[in-house]
């Protein structure tokens, strides 16, 4: 049985989809059969982030309404065949999602994939609700700003109350924190929150700090998740995030943007080896 992971934040624009794309591709590159589902009905973006926009025939609404089988609707990634995308619908709105259809879709996805990564839309309304309801684990994406941290805190509360696991009295969803768009220089000068401040506030396990990087912008525009870019600090930070999620112990080596530390120059940054296809 595969595990369902929701990527969520409450706040918009903090990098949920970017994180979903890199995290899912990262899992696939580590050898796991992974399905990425875009729950942002009406404002889908993962197709672009993965460069799949010209390969889509069906979408999540077709599968939910049982007009087409899951395996016929997913778009396989060309870089790594272990990754598949179930695109969101661009034409409907979030109201079309209903729990029974999603339950059926996810229980089938669980049988066929080892990890199912659900990219949640922003907000705490229906779309976000549907994306998180059946999740086993959650990646909370927050940027080092107070509005983002408060929204993430609100989200953690919802995850422990308004989900299947909560309602059935099962073990709580395991939330993990990913700090995105981190700039060490700003944190050092007290302009941005430090990881410690964020952790004190949210008190959930931290599994990734993604540096603010132009390679993320580039990745979005060429349709290739940044985790695939071995030269990118952000890409390597995502690979490390995946490794930590999988239980590896990986040190945080990329807190300095731009120049590399003496230690990393001497020993090289600790990298998780990616098994490319």
């Amino acid at each position: 049985m595969g595990r369902i992971i929701v990527v969520t934040s409450g706040k918009g624009g903090v990098g949920k989809s970017t994180t979903s794309a890199s995290f899912a591709l990262g899992l696939a590159l580590r050898g796991y059969k992974t399905l990425l589902i875009d729950f942002d009905i009406g404002l889908r973006n993962l197709d672009l982030l993965l460069g799949h926009e010209k390969r889509i025939v069906y979408d999540i609404v077709n599968v939910m309404r049982e007009e087409v089988a899951l395996q016929d609707a997913v778009v396989k990634d060309l870089r790594c065949s272990r990754l598949a995308l179930l695109p969101g619908s661009q034409f409907e709105d979030k109201e079309v999602l209903e729990r029974r259809g999603i339950a059926k879709l996810l229980s089938e996805a669980r049988k066929k994939y080892q990890y199912v990564v659900c990219d949640s839309p922003a907000g705490i309304e229906k779309g976000a609700d549907m994306a998180m309801y059946f999740a086993d684990d959650a990646l909370l994406v927050a940027t080092p700003e107070r509005p983002s941290v408060r929204d993430a805190d609100r989200m953690i509360g919802l995850l422990t109350n308004r989900t299947y696991r909560a309602e059935k009295g099962l073990e709580d969803i395991a939330p993990y924190l990913v700090i995105n768009r981190y700039r060490h220089s700003l944190a050092k000068r007290g302009i941005a929150l430090t990881p410690k401040q964020i952790l004190d506030n949210l008190s959930i396990p931290l599994i990734g700090i993604i540096p603010d990087s132009e390679s993320v912008t580039r990745a979005a525009n060429i349709g290739e998740p940044v985790v695939y870019d071995h030269k990118s600090a952000a890409g390597n930070a995502y690979a490390d995030t995946v490794a930590r999620y999988l239980g590896d112990s990986v040190a945080y080596t990329l807190l300095h943007e731009g120049k590399r530390s003496i230690r990393s120059r001497l020993f090289g940054n600790k990298r998780v080896h990616l098994n490319d296809e």
Binding site: G42, L43, R44, E53, K54, R55, I56, V57, Q90, F91
Partner: protein, 207 residues
Amino acid sequence: MSPLPVDLKILDYRLPTVRIFSPDEDAVIDRLAMMIEQRPALFKGMDVAMNYAEDLPNEFDQQVIEEFLVAHGVNVVARTTGEGNVLAFTASAKSQKSVPDEVISKSLRSGQRIYSKGSVVILGSVSSGAEVLAEGSIHVYGELHGRALAGVQGDRNAAIFTQSMDAELVSVAGVYRTGDQLDEGSKGNACSVMLDGDSLSFQSITQ
């Protein structure tokens, strides 16, 4: 031979066909009136072929039957006899059948979708994430970045025309190709997409 004076069947030439068995025009019209009353939405705007049994007398009044149907919104497009030999395609019906082209004067944005019962002309562009569905042909005077599905009710003569081809998906009568499989040469160029047998054929449009 059916015991009814008349019935409605889909014969070999794939048109619903009004088959007339009885030489009694009044009985035929009464029966048709009953059928139309039961399912008015089915008959309204429906294209049918007439099929007259071979043993009807010469003086049988075909015109009164056809006029009755036309008066109830049915398009009589063909006249046949016996086993289905086509006698004539009726000219008057043809003009009733044509649906005027729908003209969209703006661009279609991402997430917008239009459905046209006939052919559709879009004067602007079709953005990535927008979709045009038409029972007839699709003409895009701007750039086609989204999805275009022509002949969605099975019209194999439908086609897609655009000034700049960069579609995410094109389809004619259910035969589709995704954007990553478009002909290299067609990208960004004026081009037409038509059905050629069981596959789509891309032709560049040159002056």
